[in-house]
């Protein structure tokens, strides 16, 4: 199994979920995070003074999937998260050794 971690634009979340729905709507967990990469910040202002916010709000989407499903999911996310501008985000894939569904005790791919 793989854990797919995608860090994407906040505004893209709904679109990505739609894309994932089309390929079977896998279970997923999302987290509000902040980050920076190439995109080095955002100018805000407060009471007349501008300043740079270096950490920009992003969404982290985590999907644990079987090895076979992983590529499909990565593709769906990559396409739906794309705008072409700096800040589109990244996808990381990590190995997962075990998965358990608490409700049933099912393990492995059956638990996803």
């Amino acid at each position: 199994m793989k854990k797919i971690e995608a860090i994407v634009r906040v505004e893209k979340l709904d679109e990505i979920r739609e894309a994932l729905k089309e390929i079977g709507y896998p279970g997923m967990t999302i987290t509000r995070v902040e980050g920076h990469g190439q995109q080095k910040g955002l100018i805000e202002q407060f009471r007349g003074r501008e300043f740079k916010v270096e950490l920009i709000p992003k969404i982290k989407i985590e999907v644990v999937a079987s090895d076979v499903d992983a590529d499909k999911i990565i593709k769906a996310i990559t396409e739906s998260a794309y705008t072409g501008n700096i800040g589109d985000g990244k996808i990381f894939v990590l190995p997962v050794e075990k998965a358990i569904r608490i409700r049933t005790g099912e393990m492995g791919d059956a638990a996803l």
């Binding site: 906040v10 509000r32 202002q45 501008e50 709000p57």
Partner: protein, 463 residues
């Protein structure tokens, strides 16, 4: 809310408004009573009236805080700064524009029942009673302007909003106000006692609601409001602030309605206070129950709208009806506001905070209700003279007709001008923010200032 109109000796009719403005500036400041000493001598009871009107006016001014809180509470966190800007700036722009032009149009010397023509920039008499009238009218005007922001929330550009506030304060509100309260044609209709609107269900609330309706129609719905044509709820970010706003409005509204006697001698103010409170309560009760019967949940958001619906509806009749009628008016208002919200959404109209249903729809109901429930015990801002009497108290249909005429007029006038205004602005420079900005929230794109930078916000704010 009517005020003692200050008619000057002049009866000249100016051909052009512009001309009149210039001419009005020619004569030196006319003799007034800037210290108030003469006024006091002539009327030793004046202080009671002054402090009553001022305190009630302060309360009306404070309603701005209520509007700001309700609107922001019912919208998303990513637009909270934007709503603060709009609610602040309509008061700011409104004050300055109303001083410059609006007040002259509304309360200046009448021309043909259509428009007032004197007193630009408060020029003319320097007089305490004139300042008093101006203060009262000013806070009312700001209320009308403020209503619009809720309907156009979460997508209208700031410059378009500022222009809209200016036009409402310069023209739309003062001209209609002149017709009803400034001695204009609606007040002299040959039915009943002429069109009656005690504290402004029509003049203030329907005007604001209809301009808001025009705005929301021209803008179109927010991104995500309709999915495949079906309306979706977009929950607001703080029920707490929305509720606080409603409590503030209820509080301020007591000043709004009771102060509209424009005189403390009218002990009828006690009746007005009771009616205002009971109608608000009845409105909340009805809204809450209607939705409870539908969803089995105690929907406090709709109950808050119900309070406001009851308050808007009782605003026109508050001085002319009995307590039981106030309860009935409020109950109807509470049902109406729910029906109106559903109806507008079914027609694809997206009014984020329910401003059109609260102020527009129930403003009209308030006007009509005068024609039904006026009980014949109170007159035209005075205990003397003719007393308003409605259909249910055997007054015949006269008053009702006058009310319906006024109601139709305000819809045509405010919606019409509002629509033209938004369409014109849209053609000129585009009134809606870009889809990216809307998704991100207007706070960052228009103001550079997220409202809650120390908190994690679930919608928008990102890059």
């Amino acid at each position: 809310m009517r005020v003692v109109k200050i008619r000057r000796g002049t009866s000249a009719i100016y051909a052009l408004v512009l001309l009149s403005m210039i001419l009005a500036l020619v004569p030196c400041a006319m003799a007034g009573d800037p210290t108030g000493a003469r006024t006091l001598k002539e009327n030793p009871e004046a202080p009671v009236n002054y402090i009553w009107i001022l305190v009630c006016g302060f309360l009306v001014m404070f309603m701005q805080a209520g509007f700001a809180m309700v609107e922001t509470g019912f919208c998303r966190a990513k637009n909270a700064t934007n709503l603060m800007a709009k609610n602040l700036m309509d008061l700011v722009i409104g004050s300055l524009c109303f001083m410059a032009v609006g007040f002259a149009i509304m309360m200046g010397a009448d021309m043909a029942g259509l428009i007032g023509t004197t007193g630009w920039f408060l020029y003319g008499e320097y007089d305490v009673s004139r300042y008093l009238t101006f203060f009262w009218q000013l806070v009312f005007c700001a209320t009308a302007a403020s209503i619009v922001s809720g309907a156009v929330a979460e997508r209208l550009k700031i410059p378009a909003y500022l222009i809209c506030s200016a036009v409402v304060s310069l023209l739309i509100y003062p001209i209609f106000g002149h017709w009803v309260w400034g001695g204009g044609w609606l007040s002299t209709l040959p039915f009943g006692m002429g069109h009656l609107d005690f504290a402004g269900s029509g003049v203030v609330h329907t005007v604001g609601g209809m301009v808001g309706l025009a705005g929301t129609i021209v803008l179109g719905p927010r991104f995500g409001k309709f999915v495949n044509g079906k309306p979706r709820a977009i929950p607001g970010h703080s029920i707490t602030l929305a509720a606080l706003g409603v409590f503030i409005l209820w509080f301020g509204w007591l000043g709004f309605n009771c102060g509209s006697t424009f005189s403390a001698d009218q002990l009828r103010i006690a009746v007005i206070a009771v009616n205002t409170t009971l109608s608000a309560a009845a409105g909340a009760f009805a809204s809450l129950m209607v939705i409870f019967l539908k969803t089995r949940k105690w929907d406090v958001g709709i109950a808050l709208n119900g309070v406001l619906a009851g308050l808007v509806a009782i605003t026109a009749p508050c001085a002319w009806v009995e307590a039981w009628a106030a309860v009935v008016i409020g109950l109807v208002a509470g049902v109406l506001v729910v029906a109106s919200v559903y109806f507008l959404e079914s027609r694809g109209v997206d009014d984020p905070v329910g401003a059109v249903s609260v102020h527009g729809t129930n403003g009209l109901w308030g006007l009509i209700s005068v024609g039904l429930f006026a009980d014949g015990t109170y007159g035209y801002y005075t205990t003397g003279g003719a007393h308003a009497i409605g259909l249910l108290y055997g007054g015949g249909a006269g008053q009702l007709i006058a009310q319906v005429i006024g109601a139709c007029t305000v819809v045509l006038w405010a919606f019409g001008l509002g629509y033209l205004l938004f369409k014109a602005m849209d053609a000129a420079f585009g009134i809606r923010v870009s889809p990216e900005e809307e998704l991100q929230g207007l706070d960052i794109s228009e103001h550079g200032t997220p409202a809650y930078p120390d908190f994690y916000i679930k919608n928008g704010g990102g890059g």
